[in-house]
Amino acid sequence: MPLEIESRTSIESEEGLPVEELVVNVGPSHPSTHGVGRVVVHLDGEIVVRADPVIGYLHRGIEKMAENRTYLQVVPLTDRLDYVGSMYANWAYCRAVERLADIRVPERAEYLRVIVCELQRIASHMMGVGASAADTGAFTMFIYAFDVRERVIELFETLCGARLTYNYVRPGGVSQDAPEGWTDDVLAFCAAMPEQLSEMDTLFFGNTIARGRLKGIGVLSAEDAVSWGASGPTARASGVNWDLRKHDPYSVYPRMEFDVVVGERGDAYDRGRVKLLECYESASIIVQAISQMTRGAYKADGLQRLITPPAGDAYDHIESARGSLGVYLVSDGSPRPYRMKVRSPAFCNLSLLPMLAVGHTLSDLVVILGSLDPVFGEIDR
């Protein structure tokens, strides 16, 4: 749909005076668009009449680039999809490759994948909670959340040397085994984190102004969440009990005991708080995974560098921090994928914005956008 920025609809005022909508172009370079998002907002006073997200500013053609690379060379590309949670895209892609080429993954690698992905969930949710707090002006909460995120990033740095683009999960296993003593550091982090989380809970979610800003803002009903394809914390905050780790279990998740955090009201407050509470569950999963993990191989034996799956297609999805992240691969029997398609949860969640923002103020628009936790690397691909 072509966007006509200059077209302004005139609104009839009660006195019969001509009143025009104010068109505000929020983004792509704006403090609250979480990267390079852009929303063309039509305002009546401060009330949003229409909000059109414009995407594509971070389009790098990752799906197309994947067609010219070998299966192993695609993994670093997937790092750049959801750059706040690179481990998820790594894993979703590797699961699709493993399904396509029928590769068996050793148990230790599965445990390591679960540990890094739950750590990633904490890191990603801290970004989501912190950034949406910063959208309401609570910049201190942002720094507190980033302190927790930084601890996770340091653990990842020890594990694989990278802070953002890990390239850690590989077809058939992981890139390297955990270094000596790494699991102790992870356990120490998991023991210290709940206190920091509850401090943030009181600082921000217990604050009267924050409650006033977030409660009842951008209410998403459970029916809408399902029919618009929302997933992850966005859907769960609306009361949709849907978590792939529980309802389509993969890897070693069936052996873990954890609760799915489900909200009630589906507003920005619930979306934020569901993320915060999920971090407690993630910490408990990590502790269980470390206690169950045994020594062994960290990648599949005898796996060739040049993976050549038979012709066919495969789809696999995992529960990322933003929802159901799926990768669909088509192979023509050559060592390069014929087609890769990413099912991006952030894209589906962002598509809710025009519906949720209408009737709220411009201040609420950024809060709603932040609560949907968009990462444009994954939306634009």
Binding site: L22, V23, V24, N25, H30, P31, S32, E46, A133, A134, D135, T136, G137, A138, F139, T140, M141, I143, Y144, D147, L203, F204, N207, I209, A210, G212, R213, T361, L362, S363, D364, L365, V366
Partner: protein, 316 residues
């Protein structure tokens, strides 16, 4: 004629006071915010980073003063001064010591309430003349907010006038009795909150709300004109804390001589620090919530305070 010369002296002095206060204030705000956020803040330039603001000021003065091509040039250029000058002028009636203010005028309290609110014109014009949607929204928000918070702020100062039986700031300062403290506690809270809103400080910094409006009414300003907006903000903090200490706490709680002066500085300093503290702890309010707070909470509270003050004054 001597009044004119004295006016020039006071004008220059209050400009200088605000400039120095802004230098220290920016540094203090960055240090306090850093402490709240588990950071260090400025620490490289000078001892404990004290010279950081000076370096920033030199940078700002040397920067290009950009005027947007679409802007209403003359209004755009003059707007920062329209914000700054009224706030600087309000320092002229601060009762710094018993019986003395730079300008001891009979209607000092009215002057203090009326003159700084003229800066709303500057905010509105800055937003309007920029020809930028963010700036326009910021300017209009600022105008609405500053006008609304005039009322509770005026009412709290009015209850002091009723107690003291005068509208002279020096008179209120000198009439201070210790039992004013418990009596005016609600009034002081309302004064503090309304001052935050008057100054567009967090949690009421909607006109400049960086996450929504980028920088609001001064989004298009750069260099020295931007610095003047910042000076006006810190000048406003200084004025609000000095008046808060002078009127509600009788300057130095009525203590004599040096103790009084020290107590005065300590109380004013604490009010200023509390303003920074609040900003870095709370999220920002929304415009309708802001109006609700002003009209449904603060104004009734200020009216009750005025009633109490009136009853007490009549009973005495």
């Amino acid at each position: 004629m001597s009044g004119f010369v004295w006016g020039l002296v006071v004008g220059l002095a209050s400009g200088l006071v605000i400039a120095v206060a802004a230098l220290i204030g920016v540094w203090a705000e960055r240090k306090i915010a850093a402490r709240i956020q588990m950071r260090y803040g400025p620490q490289e330039a000078g001892p404990a980073g004290l010279l950081q603001t000076l370096a920033d000021t030199i940078k700002l003065v040397l920067k290009e003063d950009i005027t947007p091509t679409q802007a209403d040039v003359r209004v755009f250029r003059v707007a920062p001064f329209l914000v700054f000058v009224p706030i600087a002028a309000s320092l002229a009636v601060v009762p710094f010591a018993a019986g003395w203010a730079p300008f001891n005028i009979a209607s000092g309290a009215l002057f203090f309430l009326a003159v700084p609110s003229l800066s709303v014109v500057g905010v509105l014009l800055a937003g309007w003349s920029s020809r930028n949607t963010y700036a326009s929204i910021g300017g209009v928000r600022g105008a609405a907010q500053m006008v609304s918070y005039e009322l509770p702020r005026t009412l709290t100062v009015l209850s002091l006038c009723v107690l003291a039986g005068t509208v002279s700031t020096v008179g209120i300062h000198d009439a201070f009795r210790w039992w004013w403290l418990p009596l005016n506690i609600v009034g002081f809270l309302v004064y503090f909150i309304s001052s935050l809103a008057e100054l567009n400080r967090g949690p009421f910094d909607l006109p400049e709300a960086e996450s929504e409006l980028v920088a609001g009414y001064f989004a298009d300003y750069s260099g020295i004109r931007w610095a003047i907006f910042m000076m006006a903000e810190y000048g406003g903090i200084v004025a609000a804390s000095l008046f808060g200490a002078a009127l509600f706490f009788g300057g130095g709680l009525g203590l004599p001589g040096v103790f009084g002066a020290l107590a005065f500085m300590a109380i004013a300093g604490f009010i200023a620090i509390a303003m920074i503290w609040v900003k870095w702890t709370f999220p920002r309010m929304r415009s309708d919530q802001l109006m609700n707070l002003a009209w449904k909470v603060l104004t009734p509270m200020a009216l009750v305070q005025l009633l109490i003050a009136g009853v007490v004054a009549a009973w005495l």
